[in-house]
Symmetry: C2
Subunit: 767 residues, 2 copies
């Protein structure tokens, strides 16, 4: 126990040093103001508790030769994770200039929360971390994602009592119903109740202990309550690891968790300026302020740091003494050097079956229809079969609704709770993770990817906004990771958004929102990709491409309802490779300058655009129309803005610089303007898209409510091409009449005049 | 009990009728295909359970003369809420054409999920509803928001077992720690376990009942388990209402909740096409498909509907019989007519103290600094004091961090759990709601506003993305409500986003995200307003304005760190009224056409713009610069796009049509382009803003990393104004050098060369 305490004191000493010191790291001389950082930024409150857990877990790792990683939910405890990595030597391995000696310690202290240094939170820069200390709520979901398909791994997950108040964390406790004892590792939740969040006590710290125990038992755990005491913690961990072993061997059904109660800011100043600090919310950040200017505070800081007895912990050269180094596990058993926490080191590429085998035969374009996601489901089925331990499909109870049900031919939904005779496709070994929580789907997948595996998240388009903030955090993690040389690339996070805005006619206005694309487009071009395949073959090819990619967030928007087949497989691959292109069979410009460009992105807008082009061809055959379909949305950006961006010359050739462009878009129109406003032809660009009109109605009525329908597109063209004369004016009137007729028909009969997707090419006379 | 059963059967009959029938509502003749809707859209699975609860709660209302509203968490149960409102007569009061007779019943059936009719989910169109049946997770938070400050109200809240898997719902159970028995009403959660979500069993339905009971007891409730039986439900409700009365009177500490287990699709077809339906996930939507074309299904539908014995429930004219009408409470005791569910009927305007009393004295612009949110906090303190029962301030543990702490001079944080001697500002009667869950803050506030009260949500800017999806749902609710004549306007939902992107230098990259504004800008112009007050006085005036507004979502972005005071109170009011304007004292164009326009929105970008203007004035005095500050972002849009939009002529006069505009923006630059791309001068517009660069560093370094700093703005001007000559080239070099110097200084000393906000006007030589 003495060695554990020494290790803990060393980690605490290094944590305080990081928050306060520019120099004099070993206190070789009395502290002077110039040793202190001018801006004191960091969070002490949670840090000693995190260090306490690290120290005790290291004992278990060594005793049991346990493969383990550590997730620090209280990301504010950055100093702890960094101190631990430095003590274990892995910090110096990753950053040789921060050596394990007095000069390295000086650099370690100085760089923390310092311009040009490292963030104050646990971050991609921190060895051993897969969990950013930013937004709270996702620690336990990440932990379970890391444990999936790692049967020998233990993921220790410290949950702060602030984080425990969040919704995603409250739901994450139920992740234990989705684990398989044979196939998966084990998560050990450590609920660290220091009593306070930023400025308030916390709910779980202030409810009766009987309630807390019942809550944890109700969640399905065996709770151990531990006070601020080494013996208690060691005893609880021994019991917990025994229980975990019994669970793994099938002798027990339940897994343990630990409730660790400590003072906030434990071992820090008791009282500052007459107010209690240790054990209160005042210990949250920097307990002693203005240390440079306040000699009393400076003296207290020195007293505080010396209370850890650094002279017993480090030799004169700043190297940790042998008792402490003796606590450190070897090699990759060190939690700060475990390769699971740098998943790219372990990742193997997926074994991808040939997606071409699922190709839809297309003899002529736009002559038949297919449900794209149903076809993709068959490909995903084969992906799962070929990668039985490294690929998972996540979805909030929408996998079948999104018509990916072919996957159930090869696997189940993961489910470790009760199964009834009428149930289908449920089992502990299932590769499909369905829970009605987008937060859990996202958190599990992030944890799974960051530990070197692969997956895909399928979701209703509107409700993916639930994880906007999680997407932001993950994108930022990737942005930062790309700049860190020792972080190996991981598989991309790929979203398949189906049941999209244009086919939520049945569920109504609350289910209609294509705005996730706007959230995505705000992130760095180096990490985001957006694809809108218009048919089944393009979706197959895009899906394959996304599963091969690394370190991106891919967003695929694709419908589950029948859409026109436009491309043979070879054409689809070529079209996707270009990212956008002219549809010659739908165009009448015959390779010369067109009178008007009809552009489109998204399956329903593309079908309406094709129908509009057909109407123009029939009724205004002299008008030269060019039809362009965009699959890879980022192609629209200038090459200077996005790696997929198209050079201006190419854009100008395709879209012209002086002809009207009517762009029919899947999402909010402003995104197309945002991507193209620097283009020469932008002044001629008119974008149709979702304009926040909708209700429970029919698919074609949805299109009409937002003016993306074929009739309105024809009217848009007539309004924008000059000098078309009376024939066009007459056509415009007919289009307007056709809209009125369609709306009236729908309101009378409750269905569209014709199925939106069954209008094949060429379209018959609209009257 | 017979009457309850009759009421229930009537509601079930009406529910099935809505899903299936176009005509023949009373089955006066055998069902024929033409009586059936061509598209069958709706959700049966949850509906009979919701009807069961309605029926039983009505008995309690009548017996106890209880003021009660009903929140249907399973929004898929739209048919139930509509059926109930029609039985109670309130549907016909709101929609006289849907009368309480056979013709009204025909219309009731036909309109459901039908083009031009009503949505399939519980919606603003549904009398008695404050909770949209869209995205799941927020029922229990809405319920608690409705109960705040309504001491005599009971909010019955049915939670589906699908919804119960979501994070926000899992956290919402703890809302009971934030209630005051004297001041607040009571929420009665009814966890309705029918066992399935869309296609899967649910966690809470499949864990051992002992676990479920412990979970609910751990959350602090007294659970009652009820099976599908009238006697059990009646007994449990009697016990629960007695327990609620004991709690209200102080005799008991805990509140009850009910676990209702029923089959999914209860009373519907047992088996269809050889597969079990009732009691399985197959009952989720429409149990009998293709009824028009399948005579066997048509016969089953008729048998199903006749199983409710409609001839006993309705007279020949379609009016409910006396037993059923006898179950209906009177007037506003009817849950479908309770004014709490149409909160605008009850809302009284806030008593707003004069915000001018808190004005900062500004003798000359940009000569001193103030922390804007600290001043707003004093105003909010007075608002709370003047409105002790109708205003609440929500925040995820950030109220003090956002420097609104003056509110604690007049009130506490609401807290009904344990209080320790060292705690401050905690008490059951507190008006400040702090929980580390943005979901709960948002959900509580929505429930509070929709029942006719007022409030404000203060949050870190980056983490407000956590509730993007909730914002979307609430904005859609408001968009729809504005079109419903009987829905009275409610107070706007106002966000105060502080601790914003430019002052998250200390917390680092994960805390830096200004993208909520982009999410907001996608919603209908009729409901969204965005304000970026640059100083304390403009913030005060904006805050007052927002608290007076109705039916909007207002977003205010304002810093907590010191910023330059720019406006006297009178000037601030005038500036806000215009929404944007020239700062004459910072401009050198002297009323004639400028050479360049420097525009800005947001506090830090404004300070940098002012400093840039000062540098230009000093070093290039011959250059005519116009400085424009934008407070009301929607002013930038064309008048045709937003009610606050500015006519083109006015925009052209301010921004010119041919001079370079350098716009320094708080958020992502694309939003300014999105708002202005139709403007004549858009081709000359160059926008600076957050470009996803940041780390833990200093405030001025954050500005430099994103090129919004004063030096870079001067360089931008020099690059864009033609013919400036060698003096300008020299200045450009000096600016570039100044940036290098500042970055190096920061990295050496860990702080900015000068405090970002202390550079007063005019700025000294930058070297």
């Amino acid at each position: 126990m003495d060695h554990i305490d020494a290790y803990w004191r060393a980690a605490n000493y290094l944590s305080v040093g990081q928050i306060y010191l520019l120099d004099n790291p070993l206190l070789a001389e009395p502290l002077r103001p110039e040793h202190i950082k001018p801006r004191l930024l960091g969070h002490w409150g949670t840090t000693p508790g995190l260090n306490f857990c690290f120290a005790h877990l290291n004992r278990v790792i060594k005793e049991r030769d346990q493969d383990m990683i550590y997730i620090a939910g209280p990301g504010h405890g950055g100093p702890a994770a960094v101190a631990h990595a430095w003590l274990e030597g892995s910090y110096s391995e990753r950053y040789p200039d921060v050596s394990q000696d007095v000069e390295g310690m000086r650099r370690l202290f100085r760089q923390f929360s310092f311009p040009g240094g490292i963030p104050s939170h646990v971050a991609p820069e921190t060895p051993g971390s897969i969990h950013e200390g930013g937004e709270l709520g996702y620690a336990l979901a990440h932990a379970h994602g890391a444990a999936f398909d790692n049967p020998d791994l233990v993921v220790a997950c410290v949950i702060g009592d602030g984080e425990a108040e969040t919704g995603p964390l409250a739901a994450s406790w139920h992740s234990n119903k989705f684990m398989d004892r044979r196939r998966d590792g084990v998560v050990l939740p450590i609920l660290h109740l220091n009593g306070y969040k930023i400025a308030n006590p916390t709910v779980l710290a202030r409810i009766p202990e009987q309630d807390l125990l019942k809550l944890m038992e109700g969640y399905g755990y065996l709770p151990h309550v531990v006070g601020p005491d080494h013996q208690e913690m060691a005893g609880a961990l021994d019991a917990a690891f025994d229980q975990m072993a019994a669970y793994k061997s099938g002798e027990a059904d339940r897994l343990p968790m630990i409730i660790l109660r400590t003072p906030k800011g434990w071992t820090g100043p008791r009282e500052v300026d007459g107010k209690p600090v240790e054990g209160t919310w005042r210990a949250h950040q920097v307990p002693l302020a203005k240390v440079r200017d306040n000699p009393a505070h400076l003296a207290m800081l020195e007293e505080w740091m010396r209370s850890y007895r650094p002279e017993e912990l480090f030799d004169g050269g700043g190297r940790p003494n042998q008792d402490i180094l003796g606590m450190v596990p070897r090699g990759t058993r060190r939690m700060s050097a475990n390769p699971h926490a740098n998943g790219g080191e372990l990742m193997e590429p997926l074994r991808l079956p040939d997606f071409r085998r699922h190709a839809i035969e297309v003899k002529s374009p736009a002559a038949q229809t297919t449900e794209p996601t149903r076809v993709l489901g068959e490909f995903l089925r084969d992906v799962i079969a070929a990668n039985p331990r490294t690929f998972r499909l996540m979805g909030p109870d929408e996998t079948a609704s999104n018509r990916l049900q072919a996957v159930f031919e090869t696997t189940d939904r993961a489910w470790d709770a009760e199964v009834l005779p009428t149930d289908e496709n449920l089992g502990p070994g299932g590769r499909v993770m369905e829970v009605l929580s987008e937060h859990l789907c996202q958190g599990w997948l992030e944890g799974y990817l960051l530990t070197g595996r692969h997956g895909l998240f399928n979701c209703y388009e509107a409700f993916i906004h639930i994880v906007d903030a999680m997407f932001n955090q993950h994108a930022k993690w990737l942005e930062s990771s790309q700049k860190i040389s020792w972080r190996r690339p991981v598989a991309s996070l790929t979203y398949l958004l189906s049941s999209h805005v244009w086919r939520q006619d049945h569920n109504g206005f609350s289910h209609q929102d294509p705005g996730f694309l706007d959230v995505v487009a705000n992130k760095k071009a180096s990490v985001v990709r957006v694809y809108l395949p218009p048919d089944a073959n393009t979706l197959l090819s895009v899906g394959d491409h996304c599963l091969r990619s690394r370190d991106y967030v891919n967003v695929i928007v694709a419908g589950k309802q029948p859409v026109l087949d436009l491309f043979t497989m070879d054409e689809a691959i070529a079209h996707n490779t270009r990212g956008l292109g002219i549809l010659p069979w739908a165009s009448t410009d015959e390779g010369v300058e067109p009178d008007v460009v009809l552009a489109c992105a998204g399956d329903v807008p593309t079908m309406e655009t094709l129908a509009a082009a057909a109407l123009i061809r029939e009724h205004l055959p002299e008008l030269r129309v060019r039809v362009i379909n965009v699959v890879d949305l980022m192609r629209l950006q200038p090459a200077t803005e996005h790696p997929h961006g198209m050079p201006d010359a190419e854009f100008d050739t395709l879209f012209t610089t002086d002809r009207p462009i009517v762009f029919n878009f899947h999402g909010y129109p402003s995104l197309i303007h945002q991507l193209t406003y620097r283009r020469h032809g932008h002044g001629n660009l008119h974008v149709r898209g979702y304009k926040e009109e909708g209700t429970t109605t029919t698919p074609f009525d949805m299109a009409m409510m937002n003016d993306i329908d074929r009739y309105h597109l024809v009217m848009d063209v007539i309004d924008r091409v000059p000098g078309l004369g009376s024939k066009a004016a007459h056509l415009r009137q007919r289009m307007s009449d056709a809209r009125l007729h369609a709306r009236a028909y729908t309101r009378e009969y409750g269905e569209d005049p014709v199925e939106i997707s069954s209008w094949t090419w060429p379209v018959a006379n609209s009257r």
